[in-house]
Point group: C2
Chain length 352, copies 2
Amino acid sequence: MKFNIAVLAGDGIGPEVMDQAQKVSEAVAKKFGHEITWKPALTGAAAIDAVGEPYPDSTHQVCLASDAVLFGAIGLPRFDNDPSAKVRPENGLLQMRKQLGLFANLRPTFTFPSLLDKSPLKQERIEGTDLVFLRELTGGIYFGEKGRRDGGETAFDNCVYTRAEVQRLAKKGFELAMTRSKRLCCVDKANVMETSRLWRETVQAMEKDYPEVEVSYELVDAVAMRLVQWPNSYDVLITENLFGDILTDEASVISGSMGLMPSASMGESISLFEPIHGSYPQATGLNIANPMAMVLSAAMMFEIAFNLPEEGKAIRDAVNKALAEGVVTEDLANGGKAYGTKEVGDFLAVNI
Amino acid sequence: MKFNIAVLAGDGIGPEVMDQAQKVSEAVAKKFGHEITWKPALTGAAAIDAVGEPYPDSTHQVCLASDAVLFGAIGLPRFDNDPSAKVRPENGLLQMRKQLGLFANLRPTFTFPSLLDKSPLKQERIEGTDLVFLRELTGGIYFGEKGRRDGGETAFDNCVYTRAEVQRLAKKGFELAMTRSKRLCCVDKANVMETSRLWRETVQAMEKDYPEVEVSYELVDAVAMRLVQWPNSYDVLITENLFGDILTDEASVISGSMGLMPSASMGESISLFEPIHGSYPQATGLNIANPMAMVLSAAMMFEIAFNLPEEGKAIRDAVNKALAEGVVTEDLANGGKAYGTKEVGDFLAVNI
Ligand SMILES: CC(C)[C@H](C(=O)O)[C@@H](O)C(=O)O
Ligand SMILES: CC(C)[C@H](C(=O)O)[C@@H](O)C(=O)O
């Protein structure tokens, strides 16, 4: 098959880890007989410096014309001081999600047996953890009306959801649960928020369409607790934008494999794949960043965007081989030999 | 001194643990020459059953006329199925907070050396953890306008904060930081929410009044991560209502001493003290519930509401003695002898 892939490498270590994901994807294409055309485009601080905005229309057009988007990481320290500034890398991220209609953010959290000791949690708490969050990504308080009143003395943010928005996210959750252990947890704050009550009643009404799926409803504060206590008790979790932001970050540190965690953002047509880690500016150009999360994001792209599970598995197998043989960057080297970003990428490409 | 203390025991194990807190408080009063008049009042499911509402005006009047409120726990399983019902124990809680003006919820999280093995986190991660959350409790999305539009198809919740609301909460945070290690962390989502930007700019403007306090600003998603990674890196954290709800629950499980954690809710005049645990209905009447969190809430009452640190310390010393000598309920017995709720209370009272 032939694919156009938009490459939004972004800032910091983004370009370095992206190089490895492209290299590994090329190895996959060669092995399975596909042809990839790469379409690089500017985003983040790089785009602000070049054209004054973090998600320029030229980049949007490249994404629209592609079969999938690979995204590196954005953000640089010089933007950290003023989170209210209008021109910021993160604003481009929100704009991109909205314009591409990426309403479902999928974040798996799982353990790699060889990395259990990296977790802040005790081993018996995390063993067997294999959960997936589906976070709504284009609604809620992120995109509701916000502003000031009373000459700036009062601020407000409106959280809004429609039943249709909840349905399309929940549908993905039910479908995902059907391919896994058929357990779905709807996370809300239905004892306080009206939007949460809409979430809950909407999901409850959909239960009859998926009689095999066992659905539970938990409050966001209870989930924030249980994620630390017994992460391995969860399977698929669906939630709204802000709760998802907080809980997926909390969940990401639990397995101790944060530097290996990929994610997917899906819409009606286009999907985007990115590591959950940030742009790690201090490591830029040092050839020390772990490329595995970016490479595993490419695996998700083959699986989800192109429906090619064998290709995805080839990448996952190569990553497992590298971990087993200790071909890892310094974050995972445990005092042993540390390989460079590029060398890890080379090993993965050769082992496809 | 003479005190009137409102006693809102509530549901489930509430009355049992409250009995112990009253017994221990009486022992303190006797030792230090105070006189306590107890004013019991209905709340929670008990109040719904008796008078049809969870926080009746008669109870509100008792609270207003008292020097402090001791609160047990509320909620029963029969209310769990429909979080949107109007008559629910939790609604009484929100109403009470608002009517008493309890705008600042203070929740310490600390480790008891003998309980480190109870934590889901590895020992080196939690050793030395001693942090305090100050959560805003009467504003934000909990109390903003909420409802439906489009014939019920669209739901909304408004999050609103005024500068004055942020100031009075932050003031308590700065003052608390001054009595501790002089570090304050303001938790917000200033890269997305306008209310968070108001929080951040308000706290920034107050920095000059507390030149000794070192203030940091962190995003709520980052804090959700770091709390699990390095809880002992935090001291005083201030945040808005919903973030506080999620993060304080997350923090509560970290030390492994959740059953021992007290809290205080403070207003301009009246303050309320309650354990962070719930009503634990399955244990009702079995004399197995751990009374220590409720008893330590009474210690906070002496310290905060009555400004009597010696009295508070007498209670804390008794709790530490009970822990050291293994006079504990089954949740902490570790397979050893388990004492009853009442017997632990007796030991604490005798050791004041
Ligand atoms: C950068 C920020 C706006 C963003 C969010 O809150 O969604 C980030 O935290 C994320 O989770 O992708
Ligand atoms: C019961 C509920 C309304 C309440 C809240 O969300 O504030 C509880 O979770 C708490 O933290 O005291």
